[in-house]
Symmetry: C2
Amino acid sequence: MASAKAMGALALLVVMASLSSGTSAVGRQLKFNAKRGEFKILQVADMHFGDGKRTACLDVLPRQASSCSDLNTTSFVRRLILAEKPNLIVFTGDNIFGFDASDAVKSMNQAFGPAVNSGIPWAAVLGNHDQESTLSREGVMTHIVGMKNTLSQLNPGGAHVVDGFGNYNLEVHGAEFSRMENKSVLNLYMLDSGDYSTVPSIPGYGWIKPSQQLWFQHTSARLQKIYSTQPEGQKGAAPGLAYFHIPLPEHASFDPTNSTGVRQEGISSATVNSGFFTTLVAAGDVKAVFTGHDHLNDFCGELSGIHLCYAGGFGYHAYGKAGWSRRARVVVASLEKTQKGSWGTVKSIKTWKRLDDKKLSLIDSQVLWSKSSTNKQRIL
Amino acid sequence: MASAKAMGALALLVVMASLSSGTSAVGRQLKFNAKRGEFKILQVADMHFGDGKRTACLDVLPRQASSCSDLNTTSFVRRLILAEKPNLIVFTGDNIFGFDASDAVKSMNQAFGPAVNSGIPWAAVLGNHDQESTLSREGVMTHIVGMKNTLSQLNPGGAHVVDGFGNYNLEVHGAEFSRMENKSVLNLYMLDSGDYSTVPSIPGYGWIKPSQQLWFQHTSARLQKIYSTQPEGQKGAAPGLAYFHIPLPEHASFDPTNSTGVRQEGISSATVNSGFFTTLVAAGDVKAVFTGHDHLNDFCGELSGIHLCYAGGFGYHAYGKAGWSRRARVVVASLEKTQKGSWGTVKSIKTWKRLDDKKLSLIDSQVLWSKSSTNKQRIL
């Protein structure tokens, strides 16, 4: 018995040792724009890419249908990149709609193509449909990690250390030539919210598991320690943003009276509460969570100091609502000016959405977080 | 930055390596009774011990008040031990009511005295009041671990590996001289459900953290693997029981129509959902959870295949209801007879409560789990 226990313990040791081996080196260090003191993230949710030109659109107006395909999705990504010039593009899952993608690699190469070709760093996480083509979830994420210009990572310390594939964090340093240029002032957490429950007594979608939550908790604590430590030790925590596919049960807390944007369908979270919202609130640094999955919801609502935001449906080979434009979410974090005219830490985080209409209409602009409001709350 | 990351990673490695170093050797191996093929657990919840004879009773009838003190609690423990002759006594927290215990060590020695002196193995976890006297939570648990005849443990691998103090598991082997005598056929999980939230934006009681849930998950998986492996590899998982102090938010799922026992007050769980119920359901082996904390609730209700049971208030220096007897919960697991007339694995788990009246009235007897019902469910 002792030896079996020891063997189990050894397996756990190996797993946990791997957790600590550090993520693979990121080729390019994300940093705030030195001119405007901004960092802009374009979120693309639910592209649902199939086989490109051959794959028809769903839920578009009759006059749009005949000429509509996955290429409309591609075109929308391109136009957004040109219009917004983001510093990072984040794809929050269901990047491909596996059942209608006859070759996962080809479908992904085409779907992520505009991001790859833009030269802008990009990152992706998995949805519940990405593994339905010719590759497993691990295979899909492994392919993504190998693509050009991506900062995506398979997992901390390897494939099987934490549940899922594509759990990693990205650090955004302060502006070049500022005192914060070597310090992360904005932290991004990317998580695999799974596909479907594998527990017979729990129906429905997957959830973020204890191993992922512990990884998040340790990562958040480590980043908060670094942020508050010399050189350039700061008070409080650098704001964090979390990106994953499936909304949390807590997304159901909102209606038009306490949110910005629309809720046109139910909240397709897991049928159980995984506790990740509690873990987020307890960690204290994450100010907003960005998901996709429910294409007809595009709202942001705040609960316990954390904004829970949908991006709204993006892809044309995804269910939607004819006449209701496909859309994307943009987030901009802005640095505060220091007394010496340089850039300091993050002052505010704003968001808006862009519609796929002629002028890429900008809607629902709102402030998600600002340093002063936090201070004010603290004083109160 | 890389070195800071490495340092954080190293810290995590140390923590996780410790997690795997195994729990300290248990002096006495728990095993099923070879004569009756049974293992009986007496749960004592919320003794709320103070200073013994000097500490008055709360919420008793006027005629009882003058002669009532902590000694009535002691007497009830003694009578139960004599009447039930359990194989294990489990104290599920608020063992002492710290504010009214002028010396934590003395109070604990007196509170656990009947268990210590009985010679029966006993185990304890912490409630939210145990640390309010002269010792911290770590100090209280450390003292308990050092007491006679206890199987209590501080934590897997040391004090600070997982959150809280007093997270450990106990394995109950099959009957002596049976083929299961070297295999755990009943697994007990003891957890520290915390005291109070330390997160400013989350009011109220504590909860079971990701680190504890991951420890539970790994322990459950390890035990399930051993159970199914030769020698004497079994199908399925050995049933598990979890003991901790604070109920889960899911305890609020019950009313008189779907539970046995009474619900006379609100469910004082944490105000947030920690996901531990999901983790329990996903692990698959735990058939029942036993808590205390809400003294006026003593019901059991089943949700997703797991019974959530209160023990009911036990201690006389704890709030209660005059005229409503203090009570305790008993659980008995029974082995099945093999064709050769020996004992096999667990066949059923039953529970009842005992009241502190003249005849220690036995009430609310019910079956919590039976192997046949599980098989039946599987066939259906």
